[in-house]
């Protein structure tokens, strides 16, 4: 009880003043022979110092694409069509490729989807972490480097013997924690974690999730946590941004998202979470997401929305702050 109380207070007290990352009106389209797929269509959000921002939505809603666009790692046929991204005041969208390469990892680290499979199978853990450090900081004295790597492994809760092991000797959860150790190796202010626990068993998922929280508390880094598991978001995030079909529809503190969601899509998402607390009738939802090449006029969600009004079919609701810190793109709560 006291623990959860404390963590609740800690979650509420994330400072509003210091935004590490600002994303303004980001647009990413994928070109196809039948027209451009609008994967991210005018998304704006901020990430504050020392918070975990959850980015959620169903598959294909553009959450990974948005995060990759922040890193400017969108692969063709995708292209960033518009928008600005500021990291600590520096506009990433204007940097040259060379300048950007120096910033990546040092300022903005990525834990990619299925990160544990991205480790090099023929390199020992120590060499992979050393590689990340030395690429950015130049040759390091061997002794200091070793101490630093051991310190990193301790931070993510791994025993020192992992230092000399190969990836195949580690379990999935341990590999994932090696990836977290690599992500924090250069002390970046922001980490983007794309489904960091998706292929793991629940118990291991909890270990990795708690490792992320511990890293956040010890180092004060900000984390963008991409995922579709709402239970995990409830456990880890300070604020949650909900995406639907390339649009940000709601962004609010985690408590508000779960106890009083305002957007009909968020409500649907929350109701669809299966729980082990009570057995309840299944909540069925009809309808599919429209063709992303051809978005409907008006609100992006009106084709599936149970509360759609006339205005929703003709005009697109802007993202507005309806309560302090609670942003919403919906006419219901105007």
């Amino acid at each position: 009880m006291s623990f959860s109380q404390a963590s609740e207070n800690a979650r509420a007290s994330v400072s509003q003043e210091a935004a590490v990352l600002q994303v303004c009106d980001l647009r990413v389209y994928y070109d196809t022979p039948l027209g451009a797929v609008r994967a991210v269509d005018g998304v704006s959000f901020e990430v504050y110092q020392g918070e975990v921002l959850g980015l959620v939505g169903e598959s294909g809603c553009g959450k990974t694409t948005a995060a990759m666009a922040v890193l400017r790692l969108v692969q063709p046929p995708g292209r960033i069509v518009g928008g600005q991204v500021f990291l600590n005041g520096v506009e990433l969208t204007r940097l040259s490729e060379g300048e950007l390469r120096r910033i990546r990892w040092r300022e903005l680290a990525l834990i990619p989807q299925g990160a544990m499979n991205s480790l090099n199978p023929v390199m020992k853990v120590r060499d992979q972490i050393a590689d990340a450090i030395e690429t950015h900081e130049g040759k390091q004295p061997a002794r200091e480097l070793k101490e630093r790597i051991l310190q990193l492994l301790a931070t993510v809760g791994l025993p020192a013997r992992v230092y000399n092991m190969y990836p195949h000797e580690l379990s999935g959860g341990m590999k994932q924690r090696v990836c977290i150790a690599m992500a924090i190796a250069l002390n970046p202010p922001l980490i983007i974690a794309d489904e960091p626990t998706s292929a793991l068993d629940v118990v291991v998922q909890r270990v990795v999730g708690e490792t992320l929280l511990r890293v956040k508390e010890q180092l004060g880094v900000s984390i963008i946590l991409i995922g579709h598991d709402m239970g995990l978001q409830a456990q880890l995030a300070n604020r949650v941004a909900v995406m639907y079909a390339g649009h940000l529809v709601e962004l609010a503190p985690v408590l508000a998202i779960f106890s009083a969601p305002l957007h009909p899509y968020t409500q649907l998402l929350i109701e669809a979470i299966p729980t082990i607390k009570q057995r309840k009738p299944l909540k069925l939802t009809e309808g599919l997401t429209h063709d992303l090449r051809n978005p409907p006029p008006g609100c992006i969600f009106h084709l599936r929305c149970p509360h759609a009004m006339d205005v929703c079919r003709s005009e697109k609701p802007p993202l507005r702050e309806v309560r302090p810190g609670h942003f919403l793109a919906c006419y219901l709560h105007a």
């Binding site: 580690l170 379990s171 341990m174 118990v203 409830a234 979470i273 299966p274 729980t275 082990i276 057995r279």
Partner: protein, 334 residues
């Protein structure tokens, strides 16, 4: 009638499956499933869940029942006949009455054929219809059960449908053959949360309206809790706990099941994981390969010396058919 009642639809009798060894005598063997028993009555239809994390042997069990693997020891009986010793006619009936729905709704389709082909093949193989009109009526009926219409999907190619639609078509294909049992191996793990409920609802309706039982194989206890009747929880090939789903999940007895249920992220930010506890677990020790004793010994909070000597048998717990394989529940012999 009473006699019929006594022969179960499907009975798995002390089945063990060992991989490895054999020709390469020196290769280590892995016991994927050890001494597992289960029985499913024909009426009333039930959804039987087999749950466990990766490597627990749950897919091995599905493959054994579907006849893709042969047991190392033990028997699988369908209506009292060993499936290894069936006559041609019996096997044909078995293949029609026991259907499968697999995890990946993308991999099971041949991308060169239209959706209609899936149904045509089934009808042709089992000679279900005498002419086109009859076949079409059967397909239409099956699609209606899963809430679809023939004209919407039959002429389409798999890539034109969403994962949820493809999975529903797989259920329709299974239903078309009027099965008594559907083995569903992780049928919803690759489907979006908002569409998951639809597939689970179809399973419930097939059970209640068409008397079709399910062997629901999953790692996700929350969905099992919502729809399952009986549950078996496996850990590294061993049955650790079994009983009514709600009873087992509300009141878990085996230390592993307790840890598992504690680790499921609760979709409520006010109920956070109690930390510390789990970080101390060295998940690398959990690697399979131990041949004797309780498989959960390395991670168990309550381990005793005797747990290493022999694996604990199943003990009956206070409530009728709730069982756990743990010495903690041994009834003292006085």
């Amino acid at each position: 009638m009473a006699e019929l009642q006594e022969i179960p639809l499907l009975e798995v009798r002390k089945v063990t499956k060992v991989f490895g060894g054999g020709f390469l005598r020196f290769a280590p063997t892995t016991v994927a499933l050890r001494d597992f028993s289960l029985s499913i009555q024909e009426r009333p239809a039930r959804i039987i869940t087999v749950a466990g994390e990766s490597g627990s042997g749950k897919t091995t069990l599905a493959n054994l029942i579907l006849g893709f693997l042969t047991p190392t020891s033990g028997q699988i009986l369908y209506r009292g006949v060993d499936i290894q010793k069936m006559s041609h006619q019996q096997r044909l009936t078995y293949r029609r009455e026991v259907q499968a729905v697999f995890q990946d709704p993308y991999a099971v389709y041949n991308p060169f054929y239209r959706i209609g082909h899936v149904f045509d093949m089934a009808i042709k193989n089992f000679g279900l219809a005498r002419n086109r009109a009859e076949a079409r009526a059967l397909v239409e009926d099956a699609l209606n059960v899963v809430g679809m219409r023939g004209e919407e999907v039959l002429e389409k190619y798999p890539h034109q449908l969403s994962g949820g639609q493809r999975q529903r078509i797989m259920v329709a294909r299974a239903y078309l053959l009027k099965p008594r049992l559907i083995v569903a191996d992780e049928p919803v793990s690759m489907v979006d949360a908002s569409l998951r409920a639809m597939i689970l609802d179809i399973m419930l309706r097939l059970r209640d309206e068409h008397n079709i039982s399910f062997l629901y194989i999953t790692h996700d206890l929350s969905t099992a809790y919502q729809i399952g009747d009986r549950i078996y929880i496996l850990y590294q090939g061993q049955l650790v706990e079994g009983g009514q789903t709600t009873e087992v999940i509300d009141n878990p007895k085996h230390p592993y099941v307790q840890l598992l249920i504690e680790s499921i992220p609760v979709p409520d930010p006010r109920e956070t994981w109690g930390r510390e506890l789990v970080l101390t677990i060295d998940d690398e020790q959990a690697a399979p390969g131990r041949q004797e004793g309780c498989p959960f010994y390395p991670r168990c909070r309550f381990r005793m010396a005797r747990c290493l000597e022999a694996a604990p048998p199943l003990y009956n717990l206070d409530s009728a058919d709730h069982q756990a394989a743990c010495y903690l529940y041994e009834v003292p012999t006085a």
